[in-house]
C-alpha cells in the first residue's frame, strides 16, 4: 500500500474566548434560515465576533478556549463555520455533540493548549501527526488523539462519505 502524504493545513489564527455556544455560532433568531445554508453562513458568529463573516479568510483557523460549541445539537453550526472558509478549529476542549458534528462534516477539531497561540499567528497543522507548528512564535504543540473511528471518519471527509464507503461502522482497535 502506498503511504499517503501527511495532510497539512496552513492559515492564520482567529482567537476566540471560552464557552463559545451554538447560540453564538448561529443565533436562534436565524433558525428560519436553516434550510438556506449560504444565507445562514452570513450570520456565523455574528453576535460573538462582530463582522466575523466578512473578516474570515479561506483556510483561517478558529482558535478558542475551553468548551467550544456547547449547547445545541444543530449540525448547522459546524456546517456554516466550514462554509465560511475556516480550515480547522483549535480549542482547549470542545463540547461533545459539536465535536462529533464537526468531524462528521469533515471539519477538523484539534484539542491543544491554545494559550500558546495569539490572534493572527501563522500556523501549520499536520493533521496526520496531530501537531501544530506556530510559525509566528516557533512553538510546536501536540494535540490530543481522537478515537480511531473519528480519525477514519475525518479522513473520508465526513460521516456520510465514510458510511457510503464502508456501508456501516467499522471498529478499529
Amino acid at each position: 500500500m502506498v503511504k499517503m502524504p501527511d495532510l497539512v493545513l496552513k492559515g492564520k489564527a482567529i482567537k476566540l474566548g471560552d464557552n463559545i455556544s451554538t447560540d453564538d455560532i448561529i443565533p436562534g433568531r436565524f433558525a428560519h434560515l436553516r434550510s438556506n445554508l449560504p444565507e445562514l453562513a452570513r450570520h456565523v458568529l455574528e453576535d460573538a465576533v462582530p463582522g466575523f463573516a466578512s473578516r474570515v479568510k479561506l483556510s483561517d483557523f478558529l482558535v478558542a478556549g475551553k468548551n467550544f460549541g456547547l449547547g445545541s445539537s444543530r449540525e448547522h453550526a459546524p456546517v456554516v463555520i466550514k462554509m465560511s472558509g475556516v480550515g480547522a478549529i483549535l480549542a482547549k476542549s470542545a463540547a461533545r455533540i459539536f465535536f462529533r458534528n464537526a468531524i462528521n462534516q469533515g471539519l477538523p477539531v484539534l484539542l491543544c493548549d491554545t494559550d500558546k497561540i495569539g490572534d493572527g499567528d501563522e500556523l501549520e497543522i499536520n493533521l496526520t501527526g496531530g501537531m501544530i507548528a506556530n510559525l509566528t512564535s516557533g512553538i510546536t504543540l501536540n494535540c490530543s488523539k481522537m478515537p480511531p473511528i473519528m480519525s477514519a471518519i475525518l479522513e473520508e471527509g465526513g460521516l456520510i462519505p465514510y458510511i457510503q464507503k464502508h456501508k456501516g461502522f467499522v471498529i478499529i482497535s
Partner: protein
Amino acid sequence: MGKTLAEKILSLKSHGEAKAGDVVIADVDLAFVQDTTGPLTIRQFKESGFEALAKPQQTIIFLDHAAPSPAQQLSNDHILLRCFAGETGCRIYEVGEGICHQLIAEQFANPGDVILGSDSHTVTAGALGAFATGMGSSDIAVALALGKTWFRVPESFLIELKGVFLRGVYAKDLILYLIGQIGADGANYKALEFGGEALAQMTMPQRLTIANMAVEAGAKVGLFPGDEITRDFLMEHGRGDNYKPLYPDAEANYEQVILVNLDQLEPMLSLPHAVDNVRPVTRVKGVKIQQAFIGTCTNGRLEDLAVAAEILKGKKRHPGTRLLIAPASRQVLIRAIEKGYIQILIEAGAAILPPGCAACLGLHQGVLGDGEVCLSTANRNFKGRMGNPEAMVYLASPATAAASAIKGEITDPRDLM
C-alpha cells in the same frame, strides 16, 4: 468488575462487554428529529442514497420548536418533514402535541433503551433509565438508516443524593446547584448517574427535570436507575410490561462521587449568560423582570404548573411583567385544565401558549426586546438564546418564576408560601 448504568446498557445493546473508554457499535431502539434539525437530517439521509428507515415505527418526527410556524421558511421545513413521514411511514407528532422530550417520556422511553435525538436535551429520557443522547443530523441520518450508532462508552460520575427537598426547593434548584458545582464542561463526554437514598422519594417529573439538564454540565447522558418509581410511571402510561429493573452494580467504578444533601439546598438561579453561573436566589433578589416564562422540556409538566398555580392563586402578575406559560404536552394541558390550574393561571394574568417549546429558543412566542430581562424555567440562558443578544435570561424553578411574576422582580418563592 461491576458495571455502571452506562456500561450495563451499552454492553446489552452492543452484545458484548462494554467498559468505560471502549468504542462500541450499539443498536438504536428509537431515533427522532425535531423541526429545526430534522430538515438537514432528511437532506443528508437522501443525499447518502438511503431510502428506507431501519425501524419506521421507532422513528419519530416532532413539530415542536417552531410550532405553529412563525415564518414561511419554517412552514416549508414543516412540509418537508410531513412529506418524509408520508414517504417512509415514520411517526409524526403535529403542531400542538407537545415537546419531543416530554412525549418521549410519556409514550416511548423504557429502562435500558438506547434513544437518539437530533436535539441536545434528548438526555431527558435518562430519567427513565434510557441511554438517551443528542446527536447532530449526520449521526441521526445514519442511525435512521442503519438502526445503529457508535459510542465511546463514557466514564460515570455518581451523584449521590440524600435527604428531602425543603419547602420552596425543587428538582430545578438541585440541578442548577450541581451544574454550578460541576461547571458547564465539568462532565464533558461523561455520564452523570444519579443514586442514593433520596431517589426512593424522587418523582418521575423531578427526575425528568434533572436528567434534562445533564447536558448543561457537558454530559453525554444523565441516568437514573429503573426502579419502582419508573415501574409505576410506566404502568400509569400504559406500558408497565416494558418495565425491567435496572441498577448499577455495587462494585461499579465511578470517576467521581458527588454527595448532595437535599436538606441543605435553597432556591437557586442561573445568571446571564451561562448556565453554570449559579447563585442562591437570596443573593439576586430584586432584579426587575419584564417577562416570566414557565414551560419547556425542563419545567413544563403538570407538577410544575401545579406549583405555579399554588403560588399565583388569587394573585395577579405584576403590571410590568408578562407571564407566559407553555404546557409541555397536550396531556399536560388537558390534566392542568381538569385540575383547574389553567383557570387560576389565566386569572392571574398569564398568557397560555400551545404545548411546545414556545419562547425557549428565541424563535417565536416571547422574543425579548433590547435590555429586557426574562426569568425562565428553561435550561439555557446563553447570550441571544431568547432571540435577542441585548436581552438577559435568568433560569430558575417554576416556583421562583411564579413568585417573581407577582412581584415584578426576582423573588424568593419562600417569601410567598
